[in-house]
C-alpha cells in the first residue's frame, strides 16, 4: 500500500466546506481518513505543508492540447506537463483538433493517447456538429459512451439557433452541459480586436461586445426553454455578465467562466500591433474588466479557466490580421487570478478562488474530482500564495511560447501537484 500524508497546511476544500489548518491523508491513490491511514500498511511519504495552502487538485475546464493533428503547437504529453506545472490535476480539452473530435473513434483514439502520454487527468469534450461546420449533429450519445464530459463547438459557434436548440435538448438525455464559445458571426464579421476607441485608431476590424452578448442571450433562452445546462466560455464584456446575472436570478441553468487575460489586459495593449495580444474573444476595456471582476465577486461567474491555446512562434510572427488567436495559460492562470482577484482587488477570498477551480467545474461536468472527501482520487494541489516569482516563458513545459505574460512579476503559485497520490510536479 502506498501512503502519503500532507501535514500542517491550510486545507481548503470548498466541496466539504473545510478551511482549517490540518492534515490530508492518502492511501493507494485515494483520499483517506486519519483512521484508514493509521491502519494501512506501508511506509508513508510525509510532506510538510506548513505555510502552504492544500486544495483538491485544480481543474481547468478549457484547454487546447492540439492532438490529434496539431502536435507542433502542443501534445497531450507537453500540455499535461504544463498543466501540472500550473497546479492542475485535471483538464478538459476542446475538440477543435485536426481531425475534430466528432465521432466515437476519435474519442477512443484520444483516450488511448491520454492513457499513454498524460501525466494528469484529461477529460475530452466532443463536438456539437460534424467538423464544427454547424450543420449536422455529431453522434453525441455514442461519444458519451466513450467518455466525453460535455459537447462544444469551441473555436466555432453554432449560428443556427434551431440546431443549437436540438443539440441542447439532445444533450439533456445524457446529463452533460453544452459548452459554447459565444460569437455571432454576422455581428463580428472579420473582427480581430475589440470594437472601440483603439480599433478606430488602429484601423483594425472590430469585434463588438454585442457579438458575444447576442449568443449569451441565445444560450440563456435555450437553457431556459430546454431546461438543460449551457455553459458560456471566456466571458469578456460587461453586457454578458449583466445578462447572466439576471438569468440566474430566474433560476436558468446558465453558467459562465472567465479567463485571466480578460481581467489582466485591455485592448490598449494592441497599439504596437503585437499578435501576442490577439485572442478570441478579444481583450476589451477597463470598464469590462471591472464588470468581470464584479461578476466574479458576486458569484455570477462560476468558473475560472485558461483557454490555453498554444501556437508555434512562427505562426504568431505575422501581420496582426493573419495571426491565429490565443495564448498559453496553464502555467500562469492560478498566479494571475491570485494576484488580481485575491491580492490586489480582494474581490474574492482564497476559498472561493479554489472553489472556482474545483467544486464548481466538477459539479458542472459531473466529475468525481475537485474534492478532498475520503474515497476521492488523491488529486491534490499545494499552493504557496505569497511566493514571489517572475514568469519565464522560455522555461515553459509547453511546446509553444505565445504568452504576453513573459517577465511578469507574480505573487503565489502551485509548488506541488499530486495526481492519484503521486507527485507530478514540484518546484
Amino acid at each position: 500500500m502506498s501512503k502519503l500524508v500532507i501535514r500542517g497546511g491550510r486545507v481548503i476544500d470548498p466541496a466539504s466546506g473545510r478551511d482549517e489548518i490540518g492534515d490530508v491523508f492518502c492511501v493507494d491513490g485515494r483520499i483517506a481518513t486519519a483512521e484508514e491511514f493509521e491502519v494501512a500498511n506501508g511506509v508513508s511519504t510525509n510532506l510538510d505543508a506548513r505555510g502552504r495552502v492544500v486544495t483538491p487538485g485544480l481543474i481547468d475546464m478549457h484547454v487546447h492540447l492540439r492532438e490529434p493533428g496539431q502536435s507542433a503547437k502542443e501534445t497531450i504529453k507537453t500540455g499535461s506537463e504544463a498543466a501540472a506545472a500550473g497546479g492542475f490535476t485535471s483538464v478538459v480539452c476542446m475538440p477543435n483538433t485536426s481531425p475534430v473530435i466528432d465521432d466515437p473513434s476519435a474519442v477512443t483514439w484520444l483516450n488511448s493517447r491520454i492513457e499513454r502520454d498524460a501525466c494528469i487527468n484529461v477529460f475530452p469534450v466532443g463536438a456539437i456538429t460534424r467538423r464544427l461546420a454547424g450543420e449536422e449533429l455529431t453522434p453525441i450519445g455514442s461519444m458519451v459512451q466513450c467518455g466525453i464530459v460535455a459537447i462544444s463547438d469551441d473555436g466555432r459557434c453554432v449560428q443556427n439557433h434551431g440546431l443549437m436548440r436540438r443539440a441542447v435538448e439532445y444533450a439533456r438525455m445524457f446529463n452533460i452541459p453544452v459548452v459554447d464559445h459565444c460569437q455571432d458571426y454576422s455581428l463580428v464579421g472579420e473582427g480581430v480586436m475589440n470594437e472601440g476607441h483603439w480599433s478606430c485608431v488602429l484601423g483594425l476590424a472590430g469585434w463588438p461586445a454585442i457579438g458575444e452578448e447576442m449568443m449569451v442571450l441565445r444560450n440563456i433562452l435555450l437553457a431556459e426553454d430546454c431546461d438543460s445546462p449551457i455553459h458560456c466560455q471566456h466571458m469578456s464584456c460587461a453586457g454578458s455578465i449583466r445578462h447572466i446575472r439576471e438569468a440566474k436570478k430566474r433560476g436558468v441553468k446558465i453558467t459562465c467562466e472567465v479567463c485571466p487575460h480578460h481581467i489582466a489586459l485591455t485592448d490598449e495593449t494592441i497599439q504596437e500591433f503585437d499578435p501576442a495580444y490577439k485572442m478570441n474573444p478579444p481583450l476589451r476595456t477597463q470598464r469590462d474588466i471591472e464588470a468581470l471582476i464584479e461578476g466574479i465577486a458576486d458569484g455570477t461567474v462560476d468558473i475560472l479557466a485558461s483557454d490555453h491555446a498554444p501556437h508555434c512562434a512562427y505562426e504568431k510572427e505575422v501581420e496582426f490580421d493573419y495571426a491565429p488567436f490565443g495564448i498559453l495559460g496553464l502555467e500562469t492562470e492560478l498566479s494571475l487570478f491570485l494576484n488580481i482577484l485575491v491580492h490586489e482587488r480582494k474581490a474574492i477570498d482564497l476559498p472561493r478562488l479554489v472553489a472556482m477551480f474545483t467544486s464548481e467545474p466538477a459539479r458542472l461536468l459531473g466529475l468525481d474530482r475537485g474534492t478532498l472527501a475520503p474515497g476521492s482520487p488523491a488529486d491534490i494541489t499545494i499552493i504557496d500564495p505569497d511566493v514571489e516569482w517572475i514568469y519565464d516563458v522560455g522555461a515553459s513545459k509547453s511546446l509553444s511560447r505565445n504568452s504576453p505574460f513573459h517577465g511578469w512579476e507574480l505573487k503565489g503559485r502551485a509548488v506541488r501537484t499530486i495526481v492519484a497520490g503521486r507527485t507530478v510536479f514540484s518546484l
Partner: protein, 328 residues
C-alpha cells in the same frame, strides 16, 4: 532645426508637430527639383529603394519611384501578384530576403494594418509606410497638409472638412492626426455607419449633413467611396451616397470663395464630386500629385539619413536640394 531621428515613417500619430513641419519644410526645398531640366539631385545616389506593393497601386508606387529616381537612388518594384507571397512566403521571410540583397529603403503598401511596423522592427533598412490596411497613409496626409500650407501659408486655425468613408480610410486617419497636430479644426462628414461617433474621441467634429458644414470650410477633402459587396452592409449604394454626400455644383455654391477642393485620387467622377468641379480652379487635385513627389523625396531623404543613428539636422538640406554634393 531639430534632428530627424527616425529611420522609418510608419504613421503620423507618433509624430509631433515639429517633425511634421520638418518634413514639409524639407519638401519645400525639394519642390523645385521637378521644374529643372535635369530633374535629379545626388542625395541618395548609390542607395537602393524597393517598392514593395503587396496591395496594388499605380499612382503611389509611381510617385515613390519618381521621387527615388530624382534623388538618384536605384529602384526595384515588387508587386504581390508576381512575388513569392503567392507561394506562401511570409512577410518576415520576404523582408529578410530583401535585406540580404542590401536594400536601403523599403516602401511598403499592404492590406494588413501594422504591416510596415512589422517590417520596420525587423530590418535595419528604412521602412516607409505607403498604406497599411485602414491604419495610416502618412505620405498622403503629408502631401495634403503641404498643399493646404502652400495655398494658405498656414494650417493652424483652418477648418478642414473630410467627406466619405472614414472608417475604412487610412487617408482619413493620417489626415486627422496631421491636421489636428498642426492646429487645424477637422470635421468629418459621412453616413453614420462609415463615420461612427467614436471618431469624436480624436478631437474632431462629426456631422451628417454636408450642407451644414460646407459654408464654414476652408478645405474640403473628398475620399473615394468604395463599392465592393461587403460595403453594401454599410451603405446602400453609390446613388444614395451621391444624393446625400456628393459634392454637386449646387452644394459647391455654398463654399467660400477660396475654399480648396481636394481628393487623394483616383476620383469617381459624378460620385464624390461633380465632373466639372474636379477640373475647376478650386480643385487642387493635380497640385496634390505634384506636391506628393516633393513630399516623398523629403521623406526618403530624411529617413535614409537617419539610418545607423546619424542625425539629419537639416544643415545640408538646401545644399542637397540645390543639386550639390553635401559636405561630410
Amino acid at each position: 532645426m531639430s534632428g530627424w531621428r527616425r529611420k522609418d515613417l510608419l504613421d503620423i500619430r507618433s509624430l509631433d508637430a515639429a517633425e511634421i513641419t520638418r518634413i514639409l519644410d524639407t519638401a519645400e526645398a525639394f519642390k523645385q527639383v521637378g521644374t529643372r531640366d535635369v530633374k535629379k539631385v545626388p542625395a541618395l545616389r548609390g542607395r537602393t529603394m524597393v517598392n514593395f506593393f503587396v496591395e496594388p497601386s499605380t499612382r503611389t508606387r509611381t510617385s515613390f519611384e519618381l521621387a527615388a529616381l530624382r534623388l538618384s537612388a536605384d529602384v526595384v518594384n515588387i508587386a504581390a501578384t508576381s512575388s513569392s507571397l503567392t507561394k506562401g512566403e511570409t512577410l518576415k521571410d520576404t523582408a529578410r530576403n530583401l535585406e540580404a540583397l542590401h536594400a536601403d529603403i523599403i516602401v511598403l503598401r499592404h492590406s494588413a494594418a501594422g504591416a510596415s511596423k512589422f517590417l520596420a522592427e525587423r530590418l535595419a533598412a528604412s521602412v516607409i509606410n505607403a498604406g497599411d490596411g485602414a491604419h495610416e497613409h502618412p505620405t498622403q496626409a503629408l502631401l495634403d497638409t503641404f498643399t493646404i500650407r502652400d495655398r494658405f501659408k498656414r494650417v493652424a486655425g483652418l477648418h478642414v472638412v473630410i467627406v466619405g468613408d472614414i472608417l475604412f480610410s487610412r487617408v482619413a486617419r493620417s489626415n486627422i492626426w496631421a491636421l489636428t497636430k498642426l492646429g487645424a479644426k477637422v470635421t468629418l462628414v459621412g453616413p453614420s455607419t462609415l463615420v461612427p461617433r467614436a471618431f469624436e474621441e480624436f478631437g474632431v467634429r462629426v456631422e451628417r449633413r454636408i450642407e451644414d458644414v460646407l459654408p464654414e470650410a476652408d478645405v474640403v477633402n473628398l475620399l473615394r467611396i468604395q463599392h465592393e459587396r461587403q460595403k453594401l452592409e454599410y451603405f446602400p449604394g453609390l446613388g444614395e451616397y451621391t444624393n446625400l454626400f456628393g459634392l454637386t455644383k449646387k452644394r459647391a455654391a455654398l463654399l467660400k470663395e477660396d475654399c480648396l477642393i481636394m481628393h487623394p485620387g483616383p476620383i469617381n467622377r459624378g460620385v464624390e464630386i461633380d465632373s466639372d468641379l474636379a477640373d475647376s480652379g478650386r480643385s487642387v487635385i493635380l497640385d496634390q500629385v505634384t506636391n506628393g513627389l516633393a513630399v516623398r523625396m523629403a521623406v526618403l531623404y530624411l529617413c535614409a539619413g537617419a539610418q545607423g543613428g546619424t542625425k539629419g539636422d537639416g544643415s545640408q538640406d538646401q545644399v542637397i536640394a540645390a543639386g550639390k554634393e553635401a559636405t561630410v
